[in-house]
């Protein structure tokens, strides 16, 4: 199985000289299609740095980020933007939904940006899968926290990306809802053959994960 997203010997330093802070040290990571991978670590361990580098939002001090075999760091800003749009789905801590668009319109926006007609059936199927058919015309502020994160999952899946990056997707949820969201992520990874990477600090949520990486003080270890 080839890796969809691979990080090789990644180092990331902030600052220079003796004030330099090493956020990631020789980090190696990979995820393949159909895998649900968790990265677990306390706050300040380098999780966010890992995500921003994996998404091409920051360039590493050294090392390579390969998305479908292409090195991200060598791409232009514009190409990375297109990469993020087409190949990476995001689920952020709090919701990454647009407040003035209804659930369906959040998906329509993706099609508008790609200049293609609205994929109505795909939207309906995904919303149905994540039990959101009832709230398809609601605005984000009319949804519960769990619903919002489920919409974010649909939004991330809708564009059919190679990999989904989830940054503490359960941060604002209680335990039963957190478990529900994580179970759904696992199911989507396996069912739709997606590579899903979840960053979390919550030990209880990693039961369904295929691979778990632990990160502490910038050092990543595969469990």
């Amino acid at each position: 199985m080839t890796a969809v997203l691979a990080l090789q010997q990644i180092n990331k330093q902030f600052g220079h000289g003796h004030t330099a802070v090493t956020a990631l040290k020789d980090a190696n990571f990979e995820v393949s299609a159909g895998q649900f991978v968790a990265i677990i670590g306390p706050s300040g361990s380098g999780k966010s740095t890992f995500l921003t580098i994996a998404a091409g939002l920051q360039t590493p001090t050294s090392g390579q980020v390969l998305l479908n075999g292409t090195e991200l760091a060598t791409q232009s800003e514009k190409a990375r933007l297109a990469y993020r749009f087409n190949e990476i789905g995001f689920i952020l801590q709090s919701s990454n939904l647009i407040p003035f668009l209804t659930v369906t319109e959040q998906l329509k926006l993706v099609d508008k940006m790609s200049k293609r007609p609205f994929q109505k059936e795909r939207a309906q199927t995904l919303l149905h899968e994540l039990a959101l058919s009832e709230v398809a015309t609601a605005y984000p502020n009319e949804l519960s926290g769990g619903e919002r994160q489920r919409v974010a999952i649909v939004r991330a899946l809708y564009n059919d990306p190679s990999v989904i990056l989830a940054d503490e997707p359960t941060a604002s949820l209680d335990t039963p809802r957190s478990i529900d969201v994580v179970n759904r992520l696992a199911k989507e990874a396996h069912q739709h053959n997606k590579a899903i990477v979840m960053v979390t600090h919550d030990q209880r949520l990693i039961g369904n994960c295929d691979v778990v990486y632990k990160i502490e003080d910038g050092v990543m270890t595969k469990q």
């Binding site: 999780k47 966010s48 740095t49 995500l51 921003t52 998404a55 939002l57 920051q58 514009k78 933007l81 297109a82 990469y83 993020r84 749009f85 087409n86 990476i88 995001f90 952020l92 801590q93 990454n96 647009i98 407040p99 003035f100 668009l101 319109e105 329509k108 926006l109 508008k112 940006m113 605005y139 940054d167």
Partner: protein, 355 residues
């Protein structure tokens, strides 16, 4: 487009308020422009009707018709199509026992001059002491066949015809011949080519000799700009209008900037998802163009409505070409105002949306 319009629909209050501000600016622009046109028209309507290109005055005056004195005989210095003498008197037209009293601009020329207006009722001037009056004076109660006086003199003249209303120096015009006007002015010479006049008007005029007495040539544009108070008036109103364009730009710029600052987190999220600066700016542009179009269209509507109910004394003229130009200027101000947020949008770091 999609993002910008959806947001406006969701945030109706915020964007209607801003459209309202732009509407008020557009309304003031159009009202000022209408008034400027009205005043301009009031000053020069009669002159525009002449369709002449050149004016000749005495060079020892400050290019002002009423201050210029020439003799009819000076016409020999000028060559041109239809050179015609012009004399003016600003005074009061009144009927017997002052039943009607109106401030008018009296214009005198030769009886068959091209600047003599076409008669709508009555007949052309064909004898001494005859007068043509503007239709607006007829509406005020002056009648054909009536004997009227001009200023404080006891001499009377007879109204023999009317013509389509025109104004000069904000007053309704009356036309007569040179000799009649000179009689009304109590001039010593009231016949022959030694009569006093104020100037000559012609089309495609030029001096016939290199020496041309005390005559000075003015183009019609210069002549109009030198009408007493004309330039100052127009410049004042035009300056106000130009300031309003700057204000519109500032308002849009500031509003869009503040909204952008408020939405930085959202724009960060959009950028993380691969929706870049270009699309965000397009949304801002869509919004400011939409708001200014709404403001301009409603502003135009209100201006046209107000023009219908304005008192007759208020000089107000709608010039659609100019209004279109000013609309475009407001639109341009809105576009530039929105683009001022470009740097802010471009500098939003998508990484802030993570962690």
């Amino acid at each position: 487009m999609y993002l910008g319009l959806k947001e406006m629909r969701h945030e109706k209050l915020r964007y209607s308020l801003l459209s309202g501000v732009l509407l008020l600016i557009a309304l003031v622009v159009f009202m000022l422009a209408g008034l400027a046109n009205g005043l301009s028209n009031g000053n020069r309507e009669a002159i525009d009707n002449w369709q002449a290109t050149d004016v000749y005055l005495n060079q020892n005056t400050n290019e002002t018709l009423s201050a210029s004195q020439l003799k009819l005989a000076d016409q020999k210095y000028i060559k041109g199509d239809q050179v015609t003498p012009l004399a003016t008197l600003s005074g009061t037209l009144r009927t017997d026992k002052n039943r009607h009293k109106t401030t008018i601009s009296a214009l005198a020329t030769s009886r068959n001059s091209f600047i003599m207006p076409k008669v709508n009722s009555g007949h052309r001037i064909n004898g001494r002491n005859q007068l043509l009056i503007s239709d607006s004076l007829k509406a005020e109660g002056y009648k054909l066949g009536q004997n009227v006086r001009l200023g404080t003199t006891k001499r009377t003249v007879k109204i023999v015809g009317t013509y389509t209303s025109s104004t000069y120096m904000i007053s309704p015009t009356i036309y007569t011949d040179i000799a009649t006007l000179n009689r009304l002015k109590d001039m010593p010479v009231t016949s022959g080519n030694q009569q006093t006049i104020n100037g000559f008007v012609t089309k495609n005029g030029r001096f016939s000799h290199s020496s041309h007495g005390s005559l000075q040539h003015l183009t019609m544009t210069t002549f109009i700009n030198k009408l007493p108070g004309y330039s100052a008036e127009q410049l004042t109103l035009d300056t106000m209008i130009y300031f309003l364009f700057a204000i519109a730009l500032a308002i849009i710029g500031i509003f869009m900037f503040v909204l952008t600052l408020q939405k930085q987190a959202l724009f960060g999220v959009l950028k993380v998802q691969g929706i870049g600066t270009k699309h965000i700016l397009a949304a801002l542009l869509t919004q400011s163009v939409a708001m200014s179009v709404i403001g301009i269209v409603i502003g135009l509507g209100i201006t046209v409505g107000l023009a219908q109910i304005m008192p007759a004394g208020l000089p107000f003229v709608i010039n659609w070409g100019q209004f279109g130009l000013y609309s475009l200027a407001l639109l341009a101000a809105a576009v530039i105002g929105a683009l001022l947020s470009w740097r802010t949008v471009a500098n939003i770091d998508p990484a802030v949306a993570i962690g």
